[in-house]
């Protein structure tokens, strides 16, 4: 039997009909649903007289458009309210489990799937959201879909898919202190570009990836879409099994051993070949900061905003010029000289317990810079509870940071958590597009530790130069409680 990639194994195991080499009907094991991209799908379903085929393989939450300051009063925007109401009604009608606004397990769709254990190796996972790639950290084939496809999955539990090319991104060596999964992601996108992964499924391999925690792998896979790839994944290993053990949707006892054997069998076989391989020296990675309006416009924190003559083509120069104008940055400015007004620690990229801990270790015993308004938005109510049990909320509050309820918040600013025109933000989210965090707002993408450091100093600083306090390891966290 020839050596196969994890992607090929998952693909082969899910083809229901069609031509597996051209266009196949692929079965979906888990369909995650949220309020923003689903209302039109349910309407379409109803208009066609169809019903939801597998509510038991569908899980809904409210995350994009929910308030994060307090939950006792309704969302002020009546249009948003109607959107939340429709999700509730659609789920009730179809029998789809909903972790709604007031549910103890509510959270960002890509945070709650893994923490509940519904995302497992070898599965196909889809969601009407481009950052579905996050679930690939478990060795699942997970990708974002549009609303018409949401409707199709509701109706059929299947999708028409063409096979993707495979791209191996191999991170060699070891990660230096102060460099995180977010920096790997930014480093990779800086190298291959925002279109570098187009048409491909990326598998992250190599010793650096093997040494990453599940939370780090989620951060890395999450950003895969920013390289234009369809999905990103990491072959499952013992780290994956340990993370899943004991989670609500994961079997126990003898079934766990059987499930774990199946999970580990999903990993790419030794000698499996990829269509393309990019090798990156992990020891050369540093903390990165984006300077422009795509995640590929990125430089080391010790670097400078590029000069226009660094762009070989006329089109490249024009794009960079527009980005500099939007970001209100002069060519050649040292990154550490850029001041910030806001700091956002959150989003499906960096809002899990490990992220909040890394930020808290920088913050402990210090105060936010008086100009900076900093907020921490846990990815889920579960993360929030766990962080509070460790006292992280106190560390942030004592430093003058806001401690919020779970949701997407200022990652995309659909709720009142937005940047004002001209405000500059150090953000742990995934997109620095124009206006992403608020019309006229300026976003610099960084890791949680780098965001925390920027909040304390009022400008970007190299987190490797700061003394940080190691917080004790949390007890084995379980989303069951």
């Amino acid at each position: 039997m020839t050596a196969r990639t994890a992607y090929a194994k998952i693909w082969d195991a899910h083809v229901v009909a069609g031509d597996p080499r051209a266009r196949a009907l692929l079965y979906v094991d888990l369909h995650l649903v949220h309020e923003v991209t689903s209302p039109q799908a349910f309407q379409g379903l109803r208009a066609a007289g169809r019903t939801v085929r597998r509510p038991d393989l569908t899980l809904a939450t409210m995350d994009h458009n929910v308030p994060t300051w307090e939950r006792s009063r309704p969302t002020p925007d009546p249009v948003a309210q109607e959107q939340l109401r429709q999700l509730e009604e659609n789920c009730r009608e179809a029998g789809i489990p909903l972790l709604g606004l007031h549910h103890a397990r509510q959270g960002i769709v890509h945070v709650i799937g893994p923490e509940l254990g519904v995302t497992q190796p070898g599965m196909t996972v889809v969601c009407g959201d481009s950052h579905t790639a996050t679930h690939g950290a478990f060795g699942a084939l997970a990708f974002g879909i549009g609303t018409s496809e949401v409707e199709q999955v509701l109706a059929t539990q299947c999708l028409w898919q063409a096979p993707a090319a495979t791209l191996e991104v191999r991170i060699e060596g070891a990660l230096p202190a102060g460099v995180t999964a977010k920096d790997i992601a930014l480093g990779v996108i800086g190298r291959i570009g925002v279109g570098g992964g187009r048409g491909s499924v990326i598998e992250y391999t190599g010793p650096v990836v093997r040494a990453l925690s599940m939370e780090g792998r989620m951060t890395l896979c999450n950003m895969t879409i920013e390289a234009g790839a369809r999905a990103g994944l990491v072959s499952p290993d013992e780290t994956t099994v340990r993370y899943l053990e004991g989670r609500p949707a994961v079997p126990g006892g003898a079934d766990l051993a059987r499930a774990a054997a199946a999970w580990l069998a999903v990993a790419s076989d030794p000698g499996a070949t990829f269509d393309r391989t990019e090798t990156i020296d992990g020891t050369a990675l540093v903390p990165y900061v984006t300077w422009g309006t795509t995640p590929a416009m990125v430089v080391p924190v010790t670097g400078h905003v590029p000069t226009l003559d660094a762009f070989p083509t006329e089109a490249g120069r024009r794009t960079a010029e527009r980005a500099l104008a939007y970001m209100d940055l002069a060519e050649g400015t040292p990154i550490e000289a850029i001041t910030v007004d806001r700091v956002f620690i959150g989003s499906c990229t960096n809002s899990r317990l490990e992220d909040l801990r890394a930020a808290a270790e920088v913050v402990l015993g210090r105060r936010a810079h008086p100009r900076v308004r900093a907020m921490v938005v846990p990815g889920s109510q579960t993360v929030k509870r766990e962080a509070e049990a460790l006292g992280l909320d106190r560390i942030f509050r004592d430093a003058g940071f806001e401690w919020r309820e779970a949701g997407c918040s200022m990652c995309l600013g659909m709720n009142p958590d937005v940047l004002l025109p001209g405000e500059r933000c150090a953000s742990t989210s995934n997109r620095n597009f124009e206006g992403r965090q608020g019309a006229g707002g300026r976003t610099h993408l960084v890791s949680p530790a780098m965001a925390a450091a920027a909040a304390l100093h009022g400008h970007f600083v190299d987190v490797r130069e700061l003394a940080t306090t190691r917080l004790p390891e949390p007890p084995a966290a379980r989303a069951g409680g």
Partner: protein, 206 residues
């Protein structure tokens, strides 16, 4: 599915790379729960200034592009968010075709699902189209899906390929959901063989 066979129309050019779906339709319009009426929201922040006046520096505000149904853009058009609202907004503002050197993967499918045709042409050909479109003299293109070629009145003729699955869907107005339901027996057979150890979502909401 809205069919697409051949289209002839006025060209507008937006020679920017990496136009993301956040620009095509900003988040403040994503709270709505319908599929149409997004035309006014299309390219909102690029099109209008804070006071709601058209920005003179935005390419598509040129009067010569009014009524355009073919958009010619830079590489990686429609990257970023999966919001299908981007395709709805482009259609609602009168577009039927977007020509670019490349497209975001999710955007491509969203566009096709709605009968908006993404046409990927070599960068060189796109540069030629941009040059001709920028003359602002009513430059028009014919996009022929059956023959998979783009033609203009100046002798230009460039071929393109659309995934055969989607080409058939568009030419014949076929519904991908109905096509999937046609395989209901195969879907049930697959379900019967799924491992009982696989997770379910029920019971997690209590």
């Amino acid at each position: 599915m809205r069919p697409f066979t051949e289209h002839e129309g006025l060209v507008a050019v937006l020679p920017r790379d990496d136009v993301d779906t956040d620009q095509i339709i900003p988040k403040q319009f994503l709270s709505r729960t319908d599929r149409d009426g997004y035309g006014d929201a299309c390219f909102f922040a690029w099109r209008l200034d804070e006071a709601g006046r058209p920005r003179p520096d935005f390419e598509l505000n040129h009067p010569g592009f009014r009524g355009a149904s073919v958009l010619v853009a830079g590489r990686n058009f429609g990257c970023g968010s999966s919001r299908e609202h981007a395709a709805w907004a482009l259609l609602d503002s009168g577009l039927r075709v977007v020509v670019a050197p490349s497209f975001g993967d999710i955007f491509t499918v969203n566009a096709l699902q709605n009968g908006l045709l993404p046409v990927a042409l070599p960068a060189e050909a796109v540069r030629t189209l941009v040059g001709r479109g920028e003359r602002h003299d009513g430059y028009r293109l014919t996009v022929d899906l059956g023959r998979q070629e783009v033609r203009d009145g100046e002798g230009l003729r460039v071929g393109f390929t659309v995934d055969p699955f989607w080409r058939d869907c568009l030419l014949e107005g076929r519904d991908p959901v109905a096509m999937a339901l046609h395989h209901a027996a195969a879907i049930s057979a697959h379900e019967a063989l799924r491992s009982p150890l696989l997770p379910v979502s029920t019971g997690l909401d209590t």
